[in-house]
């Protein structure tokens, strides 16, 4: 097999000493970048990009993609320890990761998250290795209507699969859509809902909102509960890692499901964010312990992490094969490729074989290196949980404020963050779910763009969403997922009523 020998040659390139050094350096830098909210993968890669101009392209892309892996791993750390997602795709990790940390299982949660990341990323790389050309041509079948159908699928699965009060999910979702609409509308080119403010023109940056809703909101809640930090007795030795690993095979179905969801979303390109939410939503619905999700279930950490990383990795595929970046970090990497004079696109696999296979080989090795490095740091990070809350809270607040400011160097964003902190607190108090709001904020405007692009092309006819097998298939699956929850709930309710009626009869 031609590709396989190319891959082996790639390993040879990636395994040289200086490239391994770059890999380790990249992963460590990436973790640092991923831990600081607001700095994030794309910025980290962008800042370091100029440093790589003097290197040969293969070493440079190995360094940069290792930063990417490191950031992917690092995003989970703050999500679990402080309920602050360092990256957009770590939001779903907070739902169960943070409760686990509070209950003293921070080390287990971190191990689960890192291992899941590794499994997810590995499945993505395998996909890239073996089916790159095939998948690339499949991605070309996605026009605006198909994109909209993918987003619809994500939203529907969230509403239909959710176990929270559905009216509350939809309310939260709608607030998210409303917030997503602020700023420049890319279809008409007009500004919307900015009320003449130049600050609002940028719209609500997703990360600022998330730092507020989750990070600040959580601090307010904890402060109200009386300044205790419940995770004092977190066990911190490396044996936890092995114990956690021993429990993982039990969740194979969740892992496989999340891998599939992630690879699908990464290629299509719905992206890592949508994938992490869908992975979590599906696991919650189909797990035996689904009702316990949100209270610190290890499966609730595994599912979104696996999906996010499978997607994040698969997202590099359309970038290399088609030149369209699947994520923001991928976009910066793409810029890097161009600077080195490499033109991503169908010809890259033909003309720059060494480079492409060196990169793919470095994905295997970079991930492995990443896993080893992050697992070694588990005790260190888990130890943070032992520090009393009254010391940690001000630090978190400062880190949040710096993060919010850094995203676009705007003081206004710090106020936005505090505002959303209060909103997050109110949501928690009233028992409204935050996740649908976040999901709608991230994907809302993209879904809207795709919907309107599709209608522009069809001269306003809705038939475009039924036009071919792919789009109608997606729409049907979306509707099934939407109705699945309500219908199964209704059947269950009916069943209960029958039983209680029977019981009543028997009692007579």
């Amino acid at each position: 097999m031609d590709d396989f020998s190319s891959l082996l040659a790639g390993f040879q390139i990636a395994l040289s000493w200086h490239n391994i050094g770059f890999m380790a350096l990249g992963v460590i830098l990436g973790i640092v970048v991923g831990v600081l909210p607001g700095l994030g993968g794309p910025n980290g890669v962008a800042i370091l990009l100029p440093l790589t101009f003097g290197m040969d392209p293969t070493s440079a892309i190995i360094l940069l993609s290792s930063i990417y892996w490191g950031a992917l791993f690092g995003g989970a750390i703050t999500s679990i320890l402080f309920n602050i997602p360092g990256e957009a795709w770590s939001v779903a990790t907070t739902f169960d990761g943070y409760p686990m940390a509070i209950r003293g299982h921070a080390a287990e949660a971190l191990t689960a998250a890192f291992t899941a990341s590794f499994i997810g990323a590995l499945s993505g790389v395998v996909l890239i290795t073996f089916v790159a050309p095939l998948v690339a041509s499949f991605a070309l079948r996605f026009g605006p209507a198909e994109f909209f159908a993918v987003f619809l699928l994500t939203f529907c699965s969230f509403v239909g699969m959710g176990r929270d009060n559905r009216a509350k999910i939809i309310t939260s979702l709608c607030i998210g859509f409303l917030l997503a609409a602020v700023g420049l509308d890319s279809i008409s080119g007009d500004l919307r809902m900015t009320f003449g403010s130049t600050e609002l023109m940028r719209g609500f940056d997703f990360l600022v909102v998330v730092i507020g809703l989750f990070g600040i909101g959580e601090i307010l809640l904890t402060a109200e509960e009386g300044l205790v930090f419940k995770g004092k007795h977190a066990k911190i030795d490396l044996k936890v890692v092995l114990k956690t690993w021993a429990s993982l095979p039990r969740y194979w179905l969740t892992l496989v499901r999340s891998c599939v969801v992630g690879m699908w979303m990464g290629v299509t390109p719905g992206g890592a964010i949508a994938a992490s939410f869908m992975g979590y939503g599906l696991a919650k619905r189909f797990s035996k312990r689904g009702a316990h999700f949100g209270k610190g279930e290890i499966e609730g950490v595994l599912a979104p992490e696996t999906a996010a990383h499978a997607a994040g990795t698969s997202a590099l595929l359309p970038m290399l094969a088609l030149g369209i970046p699947g994520s923001a970090t991928a976009a910066v990497l793409l810029g890097g490729l161009l600077v080195w004079g490499l033109q991503p696109g169908p010809m890259l696999f033909v003309e720059q074989k060494d480079f492409v296979w060196g990169l793919i080989a470095s994905m295997y090795l970079g991930n492995l290196a990443g896993l080893i490095i992050v697992l070694a740091t588990v005790p260190l990070f888990a130890a943070v949980m032992r520090i009393p809350f009254s010391f940690v809270a001000p630090v978190i607040l400062i880190v949040c404020a710096i993060g919010a400011y850094t995203i676009s160097n705007s003081v206004f964003d710090i106020w936005v963050m505090l505002g959303f902190g209060i909103l997050g607190y109110i949501f928690k108090k009233l028992d409204y779910p935050l996740a649908p709001l976040v999901l709608a904020l991230v994907l809302g405007d993209r879904a809207e763009d795709a919907f309107r692009q599709a209608l522009l092309g069809s001269a306003g006819s809705l038939d475009v969403f039924w036009a071919n097998g792919l789009v109608s298939g997606l729409v049907i699956v979306a509707l099934v997922l939407l109705l699945w929850g309500p219908i199964t709930d209704a059947i269950a309710a009916l069943g209960r009523r029958n039983e209680s009626a029977k019981a009543a009869k028997a009692a007579e």
Binding site: P50, I187, S188, G323, A331, G335
Partner: protein, 329 residues
Amino acid sequence: MKMHWLAVPFVTAALASAAPALAWEPTKPIEIVVPFSAGGASDQMARTIQGIIQKHQLTTQPIIVINKPAAGGAEGMLDIQKSAGDPHKLITTSSGIFMTPMATKLPLNWTDYTPVAMMAQDSFVLWVNAKSPHKTAGDFMEAAKKASPPLKIGGTSSKREDNLIVFAMEKQIGAKFAYIPYTSGGQASTQLSGGHVEANTNNPAEDLANWRGGATRPICVFADQPMVYRDKVTENASWADIPTCTSQGLNVSYQMLRGMFMPGKVTKDQQAFYVNMFKKVSETQEWKDYLARNALVGDYRDGEAFVSFLKADEEKHARLMSEAGFMAK
């Protein structure tokens, strides 16, 4: 650093003798603000310039590229507006410097900035899918007249360059197109190679990868003269082989400036430093390679030549935008 008091006069004397070469030099890192997202054509240009400046050591200070893409580039432009008097900031610009304020009514005006240099002009090309039956602009226009629903043309953003070109084509042939705005030229190119639109009006660089990969094909360039680059970019064609649209009966030509500005209220010396620096950049081999690779029209201007170009270009855009009804009310 501790220094003997006797040494001080000598050091100052040495510095003083070196200084007159340049009246002003940057004293901290220089930021290049790119009002578009990473990976796009403006971003590529900024990063190429960054590489050239560092390689040739045209300044002692590091160069940092920052993307501020929100609101169609208005975010970056507002940033420069607010940084009046800051000599360590630059912004890359395109025709958006006129069009964004016109389309949004934002309080922005290029005359509040300090023009540094125009680096190049970018062309626009009519691209179709490689399997498209249309061979010339004539075929395409005939098809457009008969099409119902209208033919779909993809481009970047709404009420911007691509949209203006499509509007001009509509006016020429008296038929409607369905213009579909995408967020980047890369997306427009992918959508074309997937057959989701019938054509796009991308810059040469934006569709190069798919052209070389055999997925898309250029029909004509929206210019009065064909492009000058004769080196083969695909197996059997060069940029110069693409005919002009005018020669095929489609009388639309449009080019877009790519240049550099500083914030307002900087001193003449500060402006002169950057003019000098970009002039040197434009003379390097790396820059010429970059122009050829992206099929840009090399057109370096500074000083009065740049300002008069800007004035004429602004008038042209004001006319085109109001004809098309793209002006904000």
